[in-house]
Symmetry: D2
Subunit: 432 residues, 4 copies
């Protein structure tokens, strides 16, 4: 948690009362009391601040299996959809949700909708595929997503019609900010139409920038592979006299991958992220700092998140993408050019190597810690769904999995705080 | 955190008042107030229970840099020693401590004592080596420990004499339960002799079984490599008609590696740990359950922690090791034999393959998440030491690094609770 | 090639004349002339020796597609069977054979017989599975063999009956010495019964000890993973004062893995293989040499092939296995005990760590160079089969794939020559 | 070997007679007769063709230690220099040469010249570093080159002066075509000045495009990492409806990496290399073929070597680089744009992802098979040098290491033959 915020209502929407006994073998499972909560702030100063400001201690519902459930498994059809960019662990989550629903809750069927929300549209040319224990058995060994993906929303009513057509009672939406917004719109419309369909979000952000969850699946794997790219940049830089290696990493609004890879490697000299402004020119500017570093050590590595330094681009020229988002300038290429120009002007013989490993990073297999995270995340998503919870997503906070209303997670990105410990540690390590 | 316990005094011993301004560049570092605390229990029921029982909320000191320090860097000599078995990340911690002390605090010198506590003994044949920024630069690329290691304690007074001889003001001891005990004895003796030498523990346990820290370095890397062994066992099992793969993993008293690899892999059918008793014979015994699994699927994988099933060995026959600890029987071999015997008796054609990957696991390089963990752990150990804290170790709880009195960490192992969520998740996944 | 031998008749048995035009698109494929040959000896002294002795230059048939084939694809059913121990690349070979037969030659069907030759027996409880382009698409991502495996021969006539029952015209047998013997017996019996079924061997030996092929699939991958184990042993050895790391590797009769890992790592001090006798005791014995090394460097790594030093075991006590082969003593354990005993007697404080990584090694995924090797190997096996060749196997010699009569490959193992370059290089590197 | 050529004089230049007994322990080493040769052509039709055309069988000198050497080890100083682009295994070669010279031949000293030929120039600001057994012990764990590198030649006389200044008798030059040319110029000038300095080339080409050696170090490792990128592209392609993944790989004049990764992966649908012309437009053009593939399978992977399709660029606009070489257009980007344009025009909804993994590929650690190759390569370079051979490089042909006059290796690149087996296998696998 990087930021102190006020939080108000953390209670989860439900479709109705839970009257059905859970099929999870009673002897072997510890059911969770529905009253279980996890305290959001474990740092005393945050805790005290909130207690004082709000008059209460903010808490989220703890995730886990409950004794009574809402949906009758033998009449329950689950749907799964993956949206947005690829991320390590997608197939692990699909596997975890499917196996938990089929093997533990013994639901009737699990359907995978193809190619994101498009696959739930009535215009979709590709029907959902049935996911069975056998068909998902080995999918953790494949990168990408076996369900395919796409970007952008679809009309809620149109999607609801498809869900009704296939008898889907529960829809798991795996995706980022936009996808969760779409999930919320869908859940809201379902409520308006008074239908009993649960929509459960499973937050996916390789940048780890979704609010109220301290970890998102695939992030740790991504940092791991980013380190490989940093090591390559370092070797390139070190092999040349005055060699500079630049690695551009994911992170449009949040620089968590860039900061964490800086801490996971001892080879980064400059870490640039969207949250912390920097100058190219001037005494404390990157170029002069880089020159000093080169004169001292004759090599340097720069890690830059893609959203950093956007002030150096003309937004109007860049234009907007199909979803209406501002396009971003390629900060890695700009740095490369500016650095070459500057060092040439300064008469310093040099080499600049630029690496953009994004597609390789996002197509790694989940490392074991992410695999386990995906498993428990998927299980808890199913536990939530079976009790009729809806319009919520699963997160982790203070080492406990929790349920969070989707509306709290969207619209605002979690960011690295310039004044926070994480960034200070980066400063301490790089000396930048 | 698997267990609710009463905790009493979490305050940290100090050598004296902090009167020296920290050399960490003031503009760029957020100093921590010495009053910062981290709440131990974030789960509401545990929180409430402790509030009720103790009348207070248990908290640990939050780790981090402070504005005033105790030791004058230019007169400070740090010592580092690594003890006990190897573990991924040892060299990363050595690097983090050295670089933080030298580059951030600008201490006079860092010495590495060789081969564990033996190297601090006056009888040691190998003098300490000086660790410099250059000499530790690439040690993260080497597995093992560049300082060597050994087991067993040394006489505190003898060690103090060595520390005095080399002018060491701060000693970082990296090791497990026994090592921390040795560190406490040393700190206590230092206090009795009224010396101003700080002893800071950095808990090392590949089994993740040290109390009051939810994570220990190298553990996640170990689970990762254990998964490779499980996948091998699974391939062996699947390739044979009625193939059984057994993987024995570390864990004398605690089965965290075995449980987590079970969750990180989808291929484990039976997970056996020291904390949960099991029977070989009888209706619910392992052998009959295994037979059922084989008849259904024709292959099975068993993961067993080395401390599991010790009731099947004659302790007296096994004897004790040099440190006086009860020796353990090889449960992996015993399972192999019992299973072969049983299946042969039952007329079931079978193959049993037994894998013991322990030495390969503990000699992996730290994965990126462990590298980062080691870095911040090492930094916080130095922050603690420079303020004159002593007789304490660094841990992590609720996502925050904290300081913990050594005496709280030793003597008792953290264990997997049979009734806890972790084990229940294992049961759900394996169906055992 | 380690050894000079006389070779006589290298011609390949055929089922009949090739009258059918190959379906491989004529424009794009270079057909091989049936007269293409590969010279076995490229070293001048060997070449000259054979020319003089035999009066001719020994050559093998060059592998590759030919314009005319024997089997009519649309009536051809292929069978595949994998026998013996696991080896990296098995699934890659299965994939290559299946895809080549189905997609290039457009044969009617490919069947996978389950669990080795047992699966071709009439007593088999598990019918063959059909292999399709889709079903083998991703099998290269799985270790082990999707067809299962077993050891031991079956009655040729019984197997022929099964082949006839399923209409199999071509059987690919993937396995080692015993498997190839079984294949030859089968091909001979087929000939006696005047049937038109081709039997093509694909030599599988993780030890790389099959004659007349300079490389076998999986071997390079195996050496790679063996290096990981050696690095672990090295880290263990270096971390202890007078630490000794022992790695036992595959190699019952031939020490190729042990020798090559010694060359691929710079950390091996003693390499022991079945082909080169060694003594434990005496001036030049291992124990005294080890002591000298420890006194000089305080750590040592020993790599030992499982078949080395068998003279130290009582063969009668060990007995024979089910196939009637002499069982082997565990040379790794023996070394561990003898070394501990010796060093204790000599009053040298020490630690000995013993690693047996065999099952992990043989369950690696094929590395890219092995994947490519498996692909071309499998393709050439199909090219051979379609032309009605039989009773032969595919090998590689002087960088060309060739066809070799099975009878030349069996009965005798390729070995490391004590006087050869390979072993001399080992001696030079280890200084042993 | 892809190509049949005439070769004439393969004899190696020497500095003088070998009169000194080699210090390699005589008992343990098999000395090579100076008459040992390796036959270049092992394929019968090539062999016969050359015998007929040349009237003799072309042979190279076999590499290996000889009984008599030219240089007196105790007066010998070796120099090593690495030039050009990075490549996996550079540090392994440096290690092999250094250890062989120091430990086996016991030469006086080994010097590493820094940053390529620049470091041998009298204008160099960075003196050579001494390489010792200790300093090169662990360099195989580092990627890049510890000696640094640069491009371009230096004045031979100037370099000779530096060599004389440091008393260097033997210079090992590790580099590609340009570097070897520089080495030849140096050796020729040394001869003119009647000096006794040996220049030995160690061919380095990640593209494997140097003539007369069937393998160059780092190539197999490069193909391995290229496969990772191809798998990423495949996952991206498969996740999108009509997804296209493009991977640009090294290979300005020769497409060996592209072709071999196509064979090592089963996921490539189109492989484009400089040697084989292709069209974008028209019935058989890439665009229409790609469309067909998409309509059939909805995803496709294209692998393209950087030198392919250069006809689509305006050479004059591209200009020349500092060394006077024609600059190349970015064929990967061009393909991306052309494909997007075409598919958009055709009304096909699609996604194109472009990956350029070059810097990550060339900074991998050598895989074990390359490590061993580097070791033996380096050893043979030293064996050659010590006997006074000069103006030659070490290669491998028909599985034997050989000595080749530098003049034979330069000026012309080894290429994939459109009519050869390798390319035909690619065609068979991709169906392109």
């Amino acid at each position: 948690m990087e930021k102190i915020k006020n939080i108000k209502d953390t209670s989860i929407e439900v479709l109705g009362e839970c009257n059905i006994k859970s099929p999870l073998c009673s002897k072997k499972v510890n059911y969770l009391s529905p009253d279980e909560r996890v305290i959001v702030y474990s740092r005393k100063e945050e805790f005290d601040y909130h207690l004082k400001t709000l008059g209460e201690i903010p808490m989220f519902e703890k995730a886990g299996p409950q004794e009574k459930i809402f949906f009758d498994p033998k009449e329950t059809v689950c749907g799964i959809v993956t949206c947005g960019g690829l991320c390590p662990g997608l197939n692990d989550v699909i596997q975890a949700v499917s196996i938990t629903a089929l093997k533990l809750y013994k639901v009737k069927k699990v359907l995978g909708f193809m190619y994101g929300y498009k696959g739930i549209s009535s215009k979709s040319k590709y029907p959902p595929i049935e996911l069975t224990e056998d068909s998902v058995k080995d999918v953790g060994d494949l990168c990408g997503t076996i369900l395919g993906t796409s970007r952008g929303p679809q009309d809620p009513d149109d999607m609801i019609d498809t869900l009704l057509q296939y008898g889907v009672n529960i829809l798991f939406v795996i995706g980022g900010d936009g996808t969760l917004k779409g999930g919320m719109a869908l859940a809201n419309r379902i409520k308006e139409r008074d239908l009993k369909i649960s929509v459960i979000g499973i937050p996916k952000t390789i940048d780890n920038d979704i609010c109220w969850t301290s970890r998102s699946f695939g992030f740790i794997t991504a940092v791991g592979e980013a380190r490989t790219a940093v090591n390559s940049a370092h070797a390139e830089a070190r092999a040349a006299y005055n060699g500079v290696g630049i690695v551009k990493l994911m992170g449009r609004e949040s620089g968590f991958i860039a900061t964490h890879v800086t801490l996971a490697s001892s080879n980064v000299n400059f870490c640039l992220i969207p949250e912390v402004d920097f100058e190219l020119e001037g005494e404390n500017g990157l170029l002069m700092q880089l020159e000093k570093r080169l004169l001292r050590k004759h090599h340097a590595v720069i890690v830059v998140a893609e959203g950093a330094g956007q002030k150096y681009f003309d937004k109007e020229k860049l234009g907007k993408d199909l979803s209406g988002n501002q396009k971003m300038g390629d900060i890695g290429l700009l740095l490369k050019e500016k650095i070459k120009e500057y060092l040439t002007k300064r008469g310093i013989d040099h080499t600049v190597k630029y690496i953009d490993p994004s597609y390789i990073i996002r197509n790694q297999l989940a490392d074991p810690s992410d695999s386990e995270f995906c498993l428990v995340l998927g299980q808890n998503a199913v536990h939530a769904a079976m009790t009729g919870r809806t319009n919520m997503a699963v997160g982790i906070i203070n080492e406990h999995f929790v349920y969070i209303p989707i509306k709290m997670m969207i619209g605002k990105k979690k960011q690295v705080r310039e004044e926070g410990e994480l960034w200070k540690t980066v400063i301490a390590v790089t000396g930048q």
